[in-house]
Amino acid sequence: MSAPLDVSIGAPGIAVPAVAAPSRLRRRLRRYGPAWVGGGIVIAWVLVALLAPWISPYHPDAVDVSIRLRPPSLAHWMGTDTLGRDVFSRLLHGARLSLAAGFTVVILGAAIGTTIGIVAAWTRGFGDEALMRLTDLVLCFPPIILALAIAAALGIGPLNTILAMLVVWWPKFARLARALALVQRSQEYVEAATVLGLRPRRILARHILPNTLGPLAVLVTLDLGNAILTFAGLSFLGLGVIPPMPEWGSMVAEGRELVEQWWVAAFPGLAILTVVVGFNFCGDGLRDWLDPRSRSR
């Protein structure tokens, strides 16, 4: 696709039926309302994760087989599972690992990928070629399959699963960072810095990196939801956590045969859904704020 030419004159909105001009408040609400909602959801879940031990009505691992598979009630808001554990308490505790895993994978993946991408853009030539072919190589595997194979080989557990995800996570950041850095590299202020005799490392860290942070921040925010989904998926397949540790994906797995006792699997999945929606709202809002042109998308 060719980008629309900026020289096009006249109002581009002929295709759009005339809408009564919305008030300023409504316009701002339409634009940033979802971002505020998303931010609220994310902050709420972070608080839940931090405060889980104090706000849960029961211990997450407290087994009581005399009350197994009870439907939601006043005593157990989200019912109980096959071992009589309180689903609500386990769900609150599950937020800890899900959020921690998501943040770890995305932040480390972004750090590794950005470093590789910026270094590749700066060195050009052989180093660039080698690093980018390595990126292509990882990208030519379907991520979930590769992560599944590595996680299974490393063994069950949160750390191994995070490690496996990191292996497949960095390339997209490397690609984006390289593209952004290549644009910055040809800017005049970089030339000026080079002429002034600054060392490459300083130019990279102090001049190029800050200018690429905006789009990277958008990708990081949008990607957090993605990472939480993938981690939950690997846990669902039995890799992420060692039972009885409460984790959303494995909680859905425990209830997946229980079609009659839907509450065991339904609520943890709903928790994943809300957290991912929250991060997606935040990411979209951040992108609109940083790049006004993207609003039309």
């Binding site: 696709m1 629309p4 030419l5 096009s8 006249g10 581009p12 002929i14 295709a15 759009v16 039926p17 809408v19 339409r30 292509d136 190589l137 030519c140 595997f141 379907p142 979930i144 399959i145 590769l146 599944l148 194979a149 590595i150 996680a151 299974a152 080989a153 490393l154 063994g155 939801g225 989904l229 939950a232 998926g233 669902f236 397949l237 039995g238 994906g249 859905v252 797995a253 209830g255 997946r256 079609v259 009659e260 839907w262 699997a265 339904a266 943890p268 999945g269 709903l270 994943i272 859904l273 991912v276 929606v277 997606n280 039309s296 998308r297």
Partner: protein, 336 residues
């Protein structure tokens, strides 16, 4: 054009060889040991049994020798023997592939049939209620965990309402339709088995909706963005000035140009559907490649893991190649 294709093919072949090397190293260098997973505690505590078992599967040879054997086999179209099923990996893949291809294809068609019209409508009536609904739908589609969506669909439409059949490709007491392809829809038509066709189709409904959920959102958003872009181009303004009917402008002039990015994305999405079927197949007890991947990963069945990752990544490469080539056909500027 021929040079472009040749260059791309060469690059793809090189990537496939490198990929085989990487996946072999990953599968063989990691600390996980298939001995325990396969033999069980009692047998694994007897060193003689373990040594014999390792020799049988060639696990006592040095790494480079094992890679040599693997490569030689690969060139003969042999992916080795699965440790868990004791069958050639290629036979296993051949057996499970049709179920996944059928599911992914139906899901892909579903996401095109829903996503493209929805994207067009959202772009034409921008900021209208269709646009908002499309936005909400695509957000939910990409945010909902596939495995949870699969469970909810089963719980509601099979357990609760009884509208849909249970897990599996066909009714448990029915015989699979006979035919050459292994795709039940085509096989049942081929053998004139009308009941089998209905049964297979009914079993496809829920899993294909679940598998398509994320792709529908992706296709809708891409179509919408591309349509908004092309509706602002000069040729659209010219068509309007000529007095063409609005729908003729949208469908004949704006849409074909907007479809270029959709084709690119669609190809990648199809490859991702093939790979992403792991969760859907697990919940719906779908006997496809996704479930095979998962069971072999859980059993540390290295030959199977290497084989399937290789097959899937080569498929990935080929789809990418096809997408790039179709891109070059649709947009002459890319060929240079």
């Amino acid at each position: 054009m021929a040079r472009y294709i040749g260059k791309r093919l060469l690059l793809a072949a090189l990537m496939a060889v490198l990929a085989s090397c990487v996946i072999f190293l990953i599968a063989n260098l990691v600390p996980g040991d298939p001995v325990l997973a396969q033999l069980g505690d009692v047998a694994a505590s007897d060193p003689a049994i373990v040594a014999r078992w390792r020799a049988k599967w060639g696990l006592d040879l040095p790494l480079w020798e094992r890679y040599g054997i693997f490569l030689t086999g690969l060139l003969h179209g042999d992916l080795g023997i699965s440790i868990a099923t004791h069958r050639p990996v290629l036979d296993d893949i051949r057996q499970y592939a049709p179920a996944t291809i059928e599911l992914a294809t139906i899901a892909f068609l579903l996401s095109l049939v829903i996503g493209i019209p929805l994207g067009i409508a959202a772009a034409v009536r921008r900021d209208g209620w269709i646009d908002s609904a499309a936005r909400a739908l695509s957000l939910l589609g990409v945010s909902a965990p596939t495995f949870w969506l699969a469970f909810m669909m089963l719980a509601i439409f099979y357990g609760g309402l009884g509208w849909a059949p249970g897990p599996g490709r066909i009714d448990p007491i029915a015989f699979p339709p006979e035919g050459p392809t292994g795709l039940f829809l085509i096989d049942s038509i081929w053998s004139g088995d009308w009941e089998g066709f209905q049964d297979s189709l009914a079993h496809l409904v829920l899993p294909s909706i679940v598998l398509a959920a994320a792709t529908i959102g992706l296709i809708t958003r891409t179509t919408r963005a591309a349509m908004l872009d092309s509706l602002q181009q000069d040729y659209v303004r010219v068509s309007r000035a000529k007095g063409l009917h609005e729908w003729a402008i949208i469908l004949r002039h704006a849409l074909p140009n907007a479809l270029v990015p959709v084709v690119t994305l669609g190809g990648l999405a199809y490859a991702n559907l093939l790979a992403g079927a792991v969760m859907t197949e697990t919940v719906f007890a779908w006997p496809g490649l996704g479930r095979y991947t998962f069971t072999s990963a859980a059993a540390l069945d290295f030959p199977a893991i290497v084989g399937i990752t290789l097959v899937v990544s080569i498929t990935f490469l080929l789809v990418n190649l096809a997408v790039d080539l179709s891109y070059a056909l649709l947009d002459p500027r890319v060929r240079r």
